[in-house]
C-alpha cells in the first residue's frame, strides 16, 4: 500500500474507532460531565481524523483546501478538550489551572476564528507522496505551540495523578498515560510533515497510533472499568453466539469428514448423521464448560449491582443461625457473585488465640489449606488487617513491595509491614484479596478471596463492598456463634440432664438395692443373732439339763434300787422270820418296809417331776429360737390336729369334738413347732377342763382380724366350765395351774408352765397376742393374733 493510502486509511480507521468510542462513552452516561467531555474529546479526534482522511484523499486543490481548514476545527479542539477532561476526571482545581483553561479557551476561540483565514492556513500545496499538504500560516506556529504545550501539560497532570494513585486506579492511569503519550506521539506526525520532516514509522503510520490509543482506552474501559463504565452486553447472547460459532466450527469439519469418509468407504448417510450427533453430544459438555470458562475469563465480567449484592448478602446472612451454614453461605455467595476461583473464611479462636480456616471453597484437593488450618495472631497478614482495618489485594501488596508502602500526604511512611511476607502468606492462601471482618474493635475473621475467574483485579469499589459484607457477616457470625454456643450449651445441659436422670435412676436403684441389702443384712443379722441365740439357748438348755439330770441318776437309781432290790429282800427276810417274830414287830417291820418302798417310789416320782420341769424349761429355751415360716393356716391346723391326736393318744381326746373353721388362703408367719406347743397346750387344757362333760366341743376359728388387717385372729373356744374371773389374770403366770394335785395343792396335775409358755411363744417370738375371755359355766375362748404373711402359691 502506498504512503498516501496508508496515511489516509489510518486516519479513516482512527476516525471510525474514535467516533465509536466517543458515542459509546456518551451513551453510557449522558449526564456525566466526565463522559460528556471525553465524548467531545474523542469526537473531536474523530472529526479531525475524518477530515485528514478526506484531505489526504482529495482530488482537487479546492477540496483539499476545504478539508485542510475543516480538519483544524478538530485539531484546535483536541488539546483543549483533553485538558478539560484531565481536569475534571482527576479533580484538578486551582487558580493556575483555571487560568490555563481560560487561556486555552481564548486561544481555541482565536484559532477557530482565524482558521479559515490566510493567517492560519493560507492554502495547500502538493507534497508527494501525499497529494496535498496544508501550508502553515504565520499564526499556525503558535497553534502548534499551543497544541504541544497544552497536551504536554495534560499528560503531566495524568502522570502526577498516576504516581499518587494506588491499586486499580494506578493500573487504569498507567494504561491511559502510556496510550496517551503513544497516541500523541503518533498524532504529532501531522504537524511535523508540514515542515517537510518525515520520520519513519511516524510517517505514514503515526496516525494508527491514535487508533491504538483508542483501542487501549477501550481496553481499560472494559478491563479496568475506566470512566466507571459498565459494559452491559447480554452474556447469554454472546455465549449463544460463541456456542453457535463453535458448533459450526465443529460441525463443518465433522460433516466434511463424514462426507469424504462416507463416500470413500460407502457408509450410509444415516449412520454418518447418527455418528455425527453422537460425536457432538460427547463433546458438547466439555466444550460448553470450556466456553463458559473462556467467557468468564476473557469476555466481559458481569459487573454486579453493588446495592443488590449488599441487599442479597444482608438478607441471606440475617436468616442463618448456624455458624457452619452461615460461613458456607458467605463463601458461596461471594464466590458465585464475584466469580472467584476460590474463597475461604478464617475465624478467630478466642480460646486458643489463633485464626482458623473455618470454611473453604475452590481450593485444590491436595492443597494445604483445609478447614482447621491455623494462623497465629502474629502472622504478618493478620497483623496488617488487624491494624489497618481495611482490605488488601495482591496488586496493592505488589505495589507496596515496589514503593515501600503507603505514604502520608506529607510523604512520610506510615506503619511499616513486611509486604513480602504478606505476599508470601497471600500466595499460600491463593488469595488475591483479604477482607478483615471486625466486630467492634475485635478482628473476628478474614474473608480470603482468590483471583477472579475473569482475571480482573479487585477494584476499590469491590473492596469497599466486600468490607461492608464482611462487617455484616461479623455480626451474623457472632450471633451464629452465640446461637451455636447456646445450642451446644443446650445439648450439654440435655446431656447433663440425661446424666442426672441416669444418676438419679442409678441412685434410686442403688437406694432400692441398699434397702434390699439392708433388709437382707437385717435378716442375716437377725438370723445370725437368732442362730447365736439359738446356739446359746440350746447350749444353756443342754448345760442346765446336764447339771440337773446327772445328780438325778444316782438319786433315781438308788431309789429304784431300794424298791426293786432292797424292799424285796426285806420282804423275803420278813417272810423268812415272820413266824419267829411277834405280831407287833411284824406290823412294825411291814410298816417300815412299806414306808421305805413308798419313800423310794416317792423319790423316783419327784425325780420324774424335776425331770419334767427341767424338760419343759429347756424345751422352751430351745424352741424360743425357732425358724419362722409362711404357713397356710388351714393346712397347718389340719396337720396340727393330727399331731395332737397322735401325741395325746394316751389321754384319748377322741371323745371330744374338735371343729375347724379356718378361712381359705390365710397365711401366717410362724414356727410350726412352737405353734404346735401353743395349740397342744390350749387344747389339752380345754380338754382337761371339760372333764367328763357330755358334748365336749372345741372350736378353732380362724379369720382375718377385723381390727387389724395385717393380723390373723384365731379363736380357740371350748364349752367347758370356764375360768373364774379372780383366777383369769393369773393364768399366764409361770407355775400357776388350776389342775389339782393328789395332795390338793395347785399345780399337782400340771406344772403351771403351759400358758406361760404359750404367751411367751406367741407374744415373744411371733409378735402376736394371746388373750382370754371366759364365762363361768359357758366356756373359755383363747384369742390369738398372728402376723399375716404374704400369700404364696
Amino acid at each position: 500500500m502506498s504512503s498516501l493510502a496508508t496515511f489516509s486509511y489510518s486516519a479513516l480507521v482512527t476516525s471510525f474507532t474514535t467516533l465509536s468510542l466517543g458515542i459509546f462513552v456518551y451513551l453510557n452516561r449522558k449526564k456525566s460531565e466526565v463522559h460528556q467531555t471525553f465524548a467531545l474529546y474523542t469526537i473531536a479526534i474523530a472529526f479531525w481524523s475524518f477530515c485528514v482522511y478526506k484531505h489526504g484523499s482529495a482530488n482537487t486543490i479546492d477540496e483539499a483546501e476545504l478539508w485542510g481548514h475543516m480538519l483544524h476545527i478538530g485539531s484546535i479542539s483536541i488539546p483543549l478538550l483533553f485538558y478539560r477532561f484531565v481536569l475534571i476526571y482527576f479533580g484538578y482545581e486551582g487558580v493556575v489551572k483555571r487560568i490555563i483553561l481560560y487561556l486555552a479557551c481564548t486561544l481555541w476561540l482565536f484559532f477557530q476564528s482565524i482558521n479559515f483565514t490566510d493567517l492560519f492556513v493560507p492554502g495547500v500545496r502538493l507534497a508527494p507522496p501525499l497529494r496535498y499538504l496544508v501550508i502553515a500560516g504565520p499564526v499556525y506556529h503558535f497553534f502548534v505551540m499551543y497544541f504541544v504545550m497544552l497536551t504536554l501539560y495534560s499528560i503531566y497532570l495524568i502522570y502526577k495523578s498516576y504516581i499518587t494513585s494506588e491499586g486499580i486506579r494506578r493500573r487504569q492511569l498507567r494504561f491511559f498515560l502510556m496510550s496517551s503519550i503513544f497516541g500523541y506521539i503518533g498524532g504529532v506526525d501531522n504537524f511535523i510533515i508540514m515542515y517537510d520532516i518525515k520520520i519513519f514509522p511516524l510517517f505514514p503510520y503515526g496516525t494508527y497510533a491514535i487508533a491504538i490509543y483508542v483501542f487501549v482506552a477501550t481496553f481499560i474501559i472494559f478491563r479496568y472499568r475506566f470512566l466507571d463504565i459498565e459494559v452491559i452486553i447480554k452474556r447469554t447472547l454472546v455465549f449463544a453466539g460463541i456456542v453457535a460459532a463453535a458448533s459450526c466450527a465443529i460441525s463443518f469439519p465433522i460433516g466434511l469428514i463424514q462426507l469424504i469418509v462416507g463416500k470413500t468407504i460407502g457408509v450410509s448417510p444415516f449412520w454418518l448423521l447418527t455418528s455425527g450427533i453422537v460425536t457432538t453430544a460427547l463433546i458438547y459438555r466439555p466444550l460448553e464448560r470450556r466456553l463458559v470458562d473462556l467467557t468468564d475469563r476473557f469476555l466481559f465480567q458481569k459487573k454486579y449491582d453493588y446495592r443488590k449484592l449488599l441487599k442479597d448478602a444482608a438478607a441471606g446472612i440475617s436468616q442463618i443461625k448456624s455458624l457452619n451454614q452461615l460461613l458456607s453461605l458467605v463463601v458461596h455467595f461471594i464466590t458465585m457473585r464475584l466469580r472467584t476461583r476460590n474463597a475461604s473464611m478464617l475465624l478467630h479462636d478466642e480460646k486458643n488465640n489463633y485464626f482458623k480456616s473455618a470454611f473453604t471453597r475452590g481450593y485444590p484437593v491436595e492443597g494445604w489449606l483445609k478447614s482447621g488450618h491455623v494462623f497465629n495472631e502474629q502472622d504478618p497478614l493478620i497483623d496488617y488487617l488487624e491494624h489497618e482495618r481495611q482490605p488488601i489485594d495482591i496488586e496493592r501488596v505488589k505495589e507496596y513491595i515496589e514503593t515501600g508502602g503507603p505514604k502520608t500526604k506529607k510523604g512520610s511512611f506510615v506503619k511499616q509491614y513486611d509486604y513480602k511476607l504478606i505476599k508470601v502468606k497471600m500466595d499460600e492462601l491463593l488469595a488475591a484479596c483479604c477482607v478483615p471482618s471486625f466486630l467492634g474493635k475485635r478482628l473476628l475473621g478474614v474473608l480470603v478471596l482468590g483471583e477472579k475467574k475473569s482475571g480482573d483485579a479487585y477494584s476499590d469499589e469491590d473492596l469497599a463492598v466486600l468490607f461492608t459484607i464482611a462487617q455484616e457477616s461479623a455480626i451474623a457470625i457472632e450471633n451464629a456463634r452465640l446461637y451455636d454456643d447456646a445450642i451446644e450449651k443446650a445439648k450439654e445441659l440435655e446431656i447433663i440432664n440425661d446424666n442426672l436422670n441416669a444418676a438419679q435412676t442409678n441412685l434410686l436403684r442403688a437406694l432400692r438395692d441398699t434397702e434390699v441389702a439392708n433388709k437382707k443384712l437385717q435378716e442375716t443379722t437377725a438370723a445370725l443373732i437368732s442362730a447365736e441365740k439359738k446356739a446359746t439357748m440350746v447350749g444353756m438348755a443342754q448345760a442346765i439339763g446336764h447339771e440337773v439330770y446327772n445328780p438325778l441318776v444316782p438319786i433315781s437309781g438308788k431309789a429304784q434300787h431300794i424298791y426293786i432290790i432292797h424292799v424285796k429282800k426285806f420282804n423275803d427276810l420278813l417272810n423268812k422270820y415272820r413266824n419267829a417274830m411277834a405280831e407287833d414287830d411284824i406290823k412294825i417291820f411291814e410298816k417300815a418296809i412299806k414306808g421305805t418302798d413308798d419313800y423310794a417310789h416317792s423319790i423316783v416320782k419327784n425325780v420324774d417331776r424335776v425331770q419334767a420341769v427341767v424338760q419343759s424349761l429347756t424345751g422352751t429355751l430351745k424352741e424360743s429360737t425357732g425358724q419362722m415360716d409362711i404357713l397356710n393356716l388351714a393346712v397347718y391346723c389340719e396337720r396340727m390336729l393330727q399331731t395332737l391326736r397322735f401325741t395325746t393318744g394316751e389321754e384319748n381326746i377322741s371323745g371330744c369334738e374338735i371343729e375347724l373353721d379356718i378361712a381359705e388362703n390365710l397365711f401366717i408367719r410362724g414356727n410350726s413347732d412352737q405353734l404346735d406347743e401353743v395349740f397342744l397346750n390350749l387344747i389339752k387344757n380345754a380338754f382337761q377342763a371339760m372333764g367328763q362333760k357330755q358334748d365336749r366341743c372345741i372350736v378353732i376359728h380362724g379369720r382375718l382380724d377385723s381390727k387389724n388387717p395385717e393380723m390373723v385372729r384365731i379363736d380357740v373356744t371350748d364349752n367347758g366350765p370356764g375360768i373364774p374371773p379372780e383366777i383369769l389374770p393369773k393364768i399366764w403366770q409361770q407355775g400357776f395351774s388350776t389342775k389339782k394335785r393328789k395332795d390338793d395343792s395347785i399345780g399337782a396335775a400340771g406344772q403351771g408352765h403351759g400358758l406361760f409358755v404359750c404367751k411367751h411363744l406367741i407374744e415373744g417370738f411371733h409378735r402376736g397376742t394371746i388373750t382370754v375371755t371366759s364365762t363361768v359355766g359357758k366356756g373359755t375362748t383363747f384369742i390369738i393374733t398372728l402376723p399375716l404373711a404374704e400369700q404364696k402359691e
Binding site: Q542, Y549, N550, V553, Q560, I564, K622
Partner: protein
C-alpha cells in the same frame, strides 16, 4: 496282758458319782469287769488298752472342753472292733438321739436319769449275759 474271761464294760462320763453308782450296779448285777474314766480322751486310751465289750458313755463333755462325743464313738470303734455302744446322756433332743441311733449306729440310747430295769435289760442284751436282781437271774 492276761485278761479274765469276764466281759469288760468301759464307762466314760465326767460325773464321778455316776461312774461309781454304775460300777456298783454292774458289779452287783453282772459278772463283768468294769472300767471307768471321767475324761473322754483318757477313756479312749483305756478302751485301747482294755478292749471292752461294751462302752457306756456320755456324749456331752462340758468339763472336757466339749470333747466331741461322735469322735469318741468313732475312735473307740476303730480301736475295738465289734464293741457294743450304749449312750447314757443328759441330751434328750430327738434329732440327736436319732442321729446317734440311726446315723452313727450306736446300739442303745438311755436318757438320764434312766430307768434301772431298762438299764439292766440293755446291758444284759448288749453283753449277752444274764443279770441277777434280788437273787433272781434274768
Amino acid at each position: 496282758m492276761i485278761y479274765s474271761e469276764k466281759s469288760r464294760i468301759l464307762m466314760i462320763d465326767e460325773a464321778q458319782y455316776i461312774l461309781d453308782f454304775t460300777r456298783e450296779l454292774c458289779k452287783q448285777h453282772f459278772n463283768v469287769e468294769f472300767y471307768s474314766m471321767n475324761h473322754p480322751r483318757l477313756g479312749i486310751q483305756v478302751a485301747a488298752r482294755r478292749l471292752p465289750k461294751l462302752l457306756i458313755s456320755e456324749i456331752y463333755f462340758p468339763k472336757s472342753e466339749y470333747f466331741n462325743g461322735e469322735y469318741l464313738i468313732h475312735a473307740v470303734r476303730e480301736l475295738c472292733p465289734g464293741i457294743k455302744i450304749m449312750i447314757c446322756s443328759t441330751i434328750d433332743d430327738e434329732p440327736v438321739i436319732t442321729r446317734f441311733l440311726e446315723g452313727i449306729g450306736v446300739d442303745a440310747y438311755l436318757k438320764k436319769p434312766f430307768d434301772l430295769n431298762t438299764f439292766f435289760e440293755k446291758v444284759s442284751e448288749l453283753i449277752n449275759e444274764p443279770y441277777s436282781v434280788g437273787g433272781t437271774t434274768r
